[in-house]
Point group: C2
Amino acid sequence: MLPTNDSVQTVNPRLALLETPALLLDEAKMRLNIARLVQRIGPMGPILRPHLKTVKSLDIARLLLSGGTGPATVSTLSEAEAFAAAGVNNIIYAVGITPQKLGRVAAIRAAGCDLSVLVDSVEQARAVAEASTRFKQVIPALIELDCDGHRGGVHPADPKVVQIGRTLVDGGAELRGVLTHAGGSYSASGREAHAASAEQERKAAVDGAKMLRAAGLPCPVVSIGSTPTAHAVEDLEGITEVRAGVYVFFDLVQAGIGVCDVKDIALSVLTTVIGHQYDKGWILTDSGWMALSQDRGTASQKLDQGYGLVCDESGAVLSDLIVIDASQEHGIIACRPGSGTKAPHLPVGSRLRILPNHACSMASQFNHYNVIPADPEAPLKMWPRFGGW
Amino acid sequence: MLPTNDSVQTVNPRLALLETPALLLDEAKMRLNIARLVQRIGPMGPILRPHLKTVKSLDIARLLLSGGTGPATVSTLSEAEAFAAAGVNNIIYAVGITPQKLGRVAAIRAAGCDLSVLVDSVEQARAVAEASTRFKQVIPALIELDCDGHRGGVHPADPKVVQIGRTLVDGGAELRGVLTHAGGSYSASGREAHAASAEQERKAAVDGAKMLRAAGLPCPVVSIGSTPTAHAVEDLEGITEVRAGVYVFFDLVQAGIGVCDVKDIALSVLTTVIGHQYDKGWILTDSGWMALSQDRGTASQKLDQGYGLVCDESGAVLSDLIVIDASQEHGIIACRPGSGTKAPHLPVGSRLRILPNHACSMASQFNHYNVIPADPEAPLKMWPRFGGW
């Protein structure tokens, strides 16, 4: 049900001073999301290794990481450098290593952070071994396994797994273990499908580890994870750690596949109405793709949320109101086609919140979070975030 | 034709020190693109008012703007502030004004820049008039006209045009003129279609101006423009200025609609091969959507370029090789489906360039340009760019 006319008002005086577009983070929701995965994985035994590519924030990393120091996962060396400088001492850089980046890896390690890299070819293993010699640093590497054909990694039954492992060990690098990621789980819907993806992840990792051990090679780390599988996994036998990232904020893609509810989404963009095309039912705002990102992850889901689902300024969803189109600095809001609902009256200057298709993308469009504390009397907090490589 | 095996090599020693992903700008191509529009519009009479939302760079603004000081167009107040601080003294903020932003507008004007705003409603005109009184600054506003139904603006025959104009003038603001943008031209292909869009733009602007003048209101500025229409317009009678932005870099969307050739595209992302899935014909790189952007503007064109067209490190197009998929920090390169071509051998560590679907989006993913000067002996230049609102 949409609110009636004039029910959409400024309800949060703390937001009044923000210029739009602005990135909002609901701290209470985020803390619940963080606790939910800790409570789920903790009792099962494996370590939780959050993926910090979603948050790129020292303030949030402190809340996320065990003791504030790790273990952690990152997607860029600039993340590794920033988090290592802040005291995170155990990091996996979970993108296949570029040989040219190994000098920076060695420098981060030399500064005291146990940074490990990812390889899925003998060529990369050789590069890691050579860098270990050149930089006088035994660089640890995990072998990336392919559990669902969605991206990189070696098939766990491929003899290359052992060749890569041996190239690392014989060349003077460290074979730290195996890692896999069920990226395919993002396009599967429902707990049963995600549990099946999780078992696929587990089996690939355990099979790869077994093959290495059978060849007399070490495999201390057996790492799996994605937000959908981490929330659905039933059996973690043989697994030493679970990774996940977007669970901290959640988003419409995750809601669309049943991993969370829309009300769990902690991230949004605050926007302002700048105009109308009344004959078309359009509400124009000052938040285009530069603020919302161009992620259209729900386009292939059952419920297409356009460039984002619209909430009033307090965060209450205005059902069936979505951002139907976006240019660089303009958003066009309208009722979902076929919904039969009517948009509320939103005069120029009204404020709204837009929920993200993909939290990683939306967050990356901004250089700080405006954090709304749970205590309604507490002021907003400004938490910086960083980007780059 | 694809190069044969082993023909893809490091050819540009200036790029060797760059870590990937990195944003490259070919200075010679950019200068030709800039000159092309100056040579086209200059002799026709109207002023050229480049849109700086594409470049967000003081170094490029100096090359683009007449005398380095304007006139210019921007899409955010942070652009207005940065360019005004650098001496640009005549700017249109070409996104419908949010009433809450008028304090910043007045401050930029008070510091000596003739910044004008855009309105398409009586509500906004009233807000501009009120702010003119409150901040003791006669704020100039242009009325946004809708020439093709694609976004905001008042229909040029709508009596609201005069109401808005009168609200501005009677309230103590300044009516600077009318402005329209044929955003629809981006989805039309070929010079004839763009010339028709340009005439639609011209007619809407001239009709709006006529209506204001007939009502005894001033209309000194009659502003139109988009990259496709600026390059195709045949008649500029009644028009005082032309705006365009993406013409500086060009991109695959513009090439796809015939405004430029692929060889004119001055912007690319330098990337490194990190792996292969040989059975699928996939080449994995370290540049995902965080580097390339999520723009899929060519998806609706005749030739879908995926997340970007692949070139060797020197910038020569590897025909039919495109980025078929992208996650946050991974790109997957493969031959265009159905092309029947075979990818060249690209060992781990090979460098490639990826051309953008949309230059504005790709550039916004980076905080600086690595500028390749025309002189092959000259070193790379590092030109900062900014973002935010």
